[in-house]
């Protein structure tokens, strides 16, 4: 199974000059013209009487085609400039080594910074809110990382565990009045059980098939939530979900509140800071557990499963239970994150649990360099931070996200962190290049 050099590859011969670039750009522009002629050139809309009307947008069409034309030239020039080795030579080797060496300090520095975020940005609720959101996705990323990054099981339905955790907490809290701290483990366990139930049927499936079945499971959960109105409130969701308390003391303005007990003025930021540290603690626990598990036989079995499942069986490893534990562990963390999400928002609805969420978390894991804890954290920061830049331009957000996914796969499919750290060593830990690490087939 080798590479076959077929005709027209994407590398142009170096001596073909500007004429070639121009020709290619013209071709691209022409294709763009045809593709966008109707979709951009004409704009349809349902009129007030329900009848369909349209108007032309030839100027926007012209601009788009022009952008494609120019962009094609630019891309080709950049490609020529970078040469056959691509972007990897862009950064000189010395700098690359320096970055790799300082990588050891990135994680602790980032941690210290994160601990101090509420202190530094106390007055900026927006930043604190964003921080909570980022940390939620970091935790989700670390959870999915166990399934996809370590065990190599392609899960496209991770949002299902998130949803189970969120709805479990919401229902238990609103129905039985149980506190967040009691419901949290319940939510996790229920999500974990669903993870095992998901795991059983998909044990023998590989690669693409495993992916699409997990996607189907995720969608089924969402559809059941939407339609089982008596239980979940359907599209209206569940509201008035109680917030977490600190040892039973609620963070409310009244005389029973936390502020009153401490004798300080009430500030709504208190609760936000409280939530921030809760999710940070949860994420750090997820991280700690994952790192410990990696060094334990179960974690090593997960990674071995990803590398070569057949060899695992030949070594006496029960691949069935290995897969199930991977699903269960990932689901556990997803469920915890879901419960947190519910309590942070105070309100949940099925709209928050779409396939797009699963894809987003998966993109975070892949971008981070599957298996790397630091990578996943950085990727979550980049992705969610990037999403925030699109405030006011929400329409374009998913469009850019899609394009970013395509570009990421073409340019750096192995993610940001290009290596894997071994879990045990005799003399010295040598990072293993991600070229050697298998991506798993499920």
């Amino acid at each position: 199974m080798g590479r076959v050099s077929t005709s027209a590859t994407d590398h142009s011969p170096p001596h073909a000059g500007f004429a070639f670039i121009l020709k290619k750009a013209l071709l691209s522009a022409f294709v763009a013209l045809v593709l966008f002629s109707l979709m951009i050139g004409i704009r349809t809309e349902a009129g007030p009487t329900g009848q369909l009307t349209y108007w032309t947008r030839f100027d926007e069409l012209a601009i788009t085609v022009a952008i494609v034309f120019v962009g094609s030239i630019v891309i080709e020039l950049v490609r020529r400039w970078l040469g056959p080795s691509g972007a990897s030579e862009l950064v000189p080797a010395r700098v690359q080594n320096g970055l790799a060496a300082s990588g050891r300090y990135v994680a602790p520095a980032l941690l210290i910074f994160t601990l101090l975020v509420p202190v530094i940005f106390y007055r900026q609720r927006y930043i604190l809110d964003l921080g909570v959101l980022v940390l939620t996705y970091v935790m989700l990323g670390w959870g999915l990382n166990v399934v996809v990054g370590l065990a190599g099981l392609l899960d496209l339905g991770y949002v299902a565990f998130y949803a189970v955790g969120a709805y479990s907490y919401a229902l238990f809290a609103t129905t039985f009045g149980l506190s967040f701290w009691i419901c949290l483990p319940i939510a996790g366990i229920l999500a974990s059980l669903w993870g095992v139930m998901l795991g059983f049927p998909v044990l023998r499936l590989r690669g693409d098939y495993l992916a699409i079945v997990t996607l189907a499971f995720g969608e089924i959960i969402r559809l059941v939530i939407v339609n089982w109105q008596s239980l979940t409130g359907g599209p209206n969701g569940i509201s008035s979900i109680p917030r977490p308390t600190l040892f039973g003391i609620p963070l409310t303005p009244g005389p029973n509140g936390f502020a009153a007990k401490l004798g300080i003025a009430f500030d709504p930021t208190h609760r936000l800071v409280f939530l921030f540290y809760i999710i940070l603690a949860m994420a750090l626990i997820t991280n700690w557990v994952t790192i410990r598990l990696r060094g334990l036989p179960i974690g090593r079995a997960w990674e071995a499963l990803r590398e070569d499942e057949v060899a695992c069986r030949a070594l006496g490893i029960n691949t069935t239970t290995t897969k199930l534990t991977a699903f269960a562990t990932g689901a556990l963390f997803g469920g915890f994150a879901g419960a947190f999400f519910a309590t942070r928002q105070g309100f949940i609805s099925p709209e928050s649990f779409t396939f797009q969420e699963s894809a987003l978390v998966l993109a975070i894991v892949v971008l981070g360099g599957m298996g790397s804890q630091l990578g996943v954290a950085l990727a979550a920061l980049a992705m969610i931070g990037g999403f925030e830049l699109f405030r006011g331009l929400e329409q374009y957000r998913m469009l850019v996200f899609g394009m970013a996914m395509v570009l990421l796969m073409i340019w750096r499919p192995r993610g940001l962190i290009g290596h894997r750290a071994p879990t045990v060593y005799l003399k010295q830990a040598h990072a293993i290049s991600s070229d050697l690490v298998k991506e798993g087939h499920g």
């Binding site: 349809t44 499936l205 892949v366 899609g402």
Partner: protein, 305 residues
């Protein structure tokens, strides 16, 4: 009994649409071994192109329905085929020798690009059209007043499907392109060594799949009278289920699977519950992949150790 007959008709029509989409999935999986996640959205684009083409033609004063239909069919097939070609060139071809995960994630990304492109370009609201083909035939008046109808739209959909299927089967069985496709399905390396232009063959596979999806989109528009930017996602999964049910890699299987899914969905909605019809479709996918991964007409695979 009459209710049953009506559902049977409806199910077969819906199934034809699914079958057309499913063929695209099965061909691509057969030749490059990947699930083209963006294919459902190609179907959606096809529907939109058809919609816009209709609008323009009608506004130019064209009234002859068969002429309009033909022009719209050709235009939407051509433009959507170009979409399919572009998607393959941009998002899949560079990744052909990459590891398994890359093309799939790229396809998911492309799916988002297409559906959101449609949302941005044409707005998020559903686009309705007035019925273009009207009338039909009453097949049976039952005693309790239920009427079994076969509408003209339904006839058009089924006839178009049959004609295209015939053309397409001829294409695969008799032409050079079809032979090249089958060769690439079996052994790409060998086919290339024997002079088959693998890149072009793969591109043509995507193009043909997209063209058929465009037809499905147009049929959907005619039948249901509306399109929206999100219709590709669910239809895509159902069509993929159809492809798997029929046996992935098998063309008659894709059509067979499509008809089966169409019938199951229609009967489920009619006799059980409409709300959970999508759940039924997804569950079938899971059940088939677990218990019958080679589908009805597929070939079993033996794991090589």
């Amino acid at each position: 009994m009459d209710y049953f007959a009506q559902q049977l008709i409806n199910g077969l029509v819906l199934g034809s649409i699914y079958g057309l989409i499913a063929i695209g999935y099965t061909m691509v999986y057969g030749i490059v071994g990947m699930i083209n996640f963006a294919h459902g959205d190609i179907f959606m684009i096809g529907g939109f192109i058809a919609l816009i083409s209709f609008l323009i033609l009608v506004s130019f004063g064209l009234t002859a329905v068969p002429v309009i239909l033909l022009i719209v069919l050709l235009v939407s097939m051509a433009i959507t085929a170009l979409y399919g070609w572009t998607v393959e060139r941009i998002a899949y071809r560079p990744l052909r020798h990459s590891f398994r995960l890359a093309p799939m994630l790229s396809a998911i990304g492309m799916s988002f690009v297409l559906s959101n492109f449609s949302q941005v370009a044409q707005g998020a609201r559903v686009k309705p059209v007035p019925p273009i083909i009207t009338g039909g035939y009453t097949l049976h008046h039952s005693a309790d007043g239920f009427v079994v109808r076969l509408s003209n739209v339904q006839i058009v959909v089924v006839l178009t499907t049959i004609v295209l299927l015939a053309i397409f089967t001829w294409l695969v069985a008799r032409t050079r392109l079809g032979r090249d496709m089958r060769a690439c399905e079996q052994d790409q390396t060998m086919a290339a060594l024997l002079g088959v232009d693998v890149d072009r063959t793969i591109s043509m596979t995507f193009v043909i799949g997209a063209a058929l999806a465009a037809v499905a989109g147009m049929m959907y528009l005619l039948y249901y009278g509306q399109v929206d930017f999100f219709m590709g996602f669910v239809a895509g999964i159902k069509a993929f289920t159809a492809a798997v049910l029929g046996g992935i890699g098998s063309l008659p299987g894709a059509m067979l699977g499509g008809l089966a899914i169409g019938l199951i969905e229609t009967f489920w909605s009619a006799y059980f519950s409409v709300e959970y019809k999508d759940v039924a479709a997804f569950s079938i996918l899971i059940v088939v992949l677990i218990f019958m991964p080679t589908g009805l007409l597929g070939r079993p695979e033996v794991e090589k150790v």
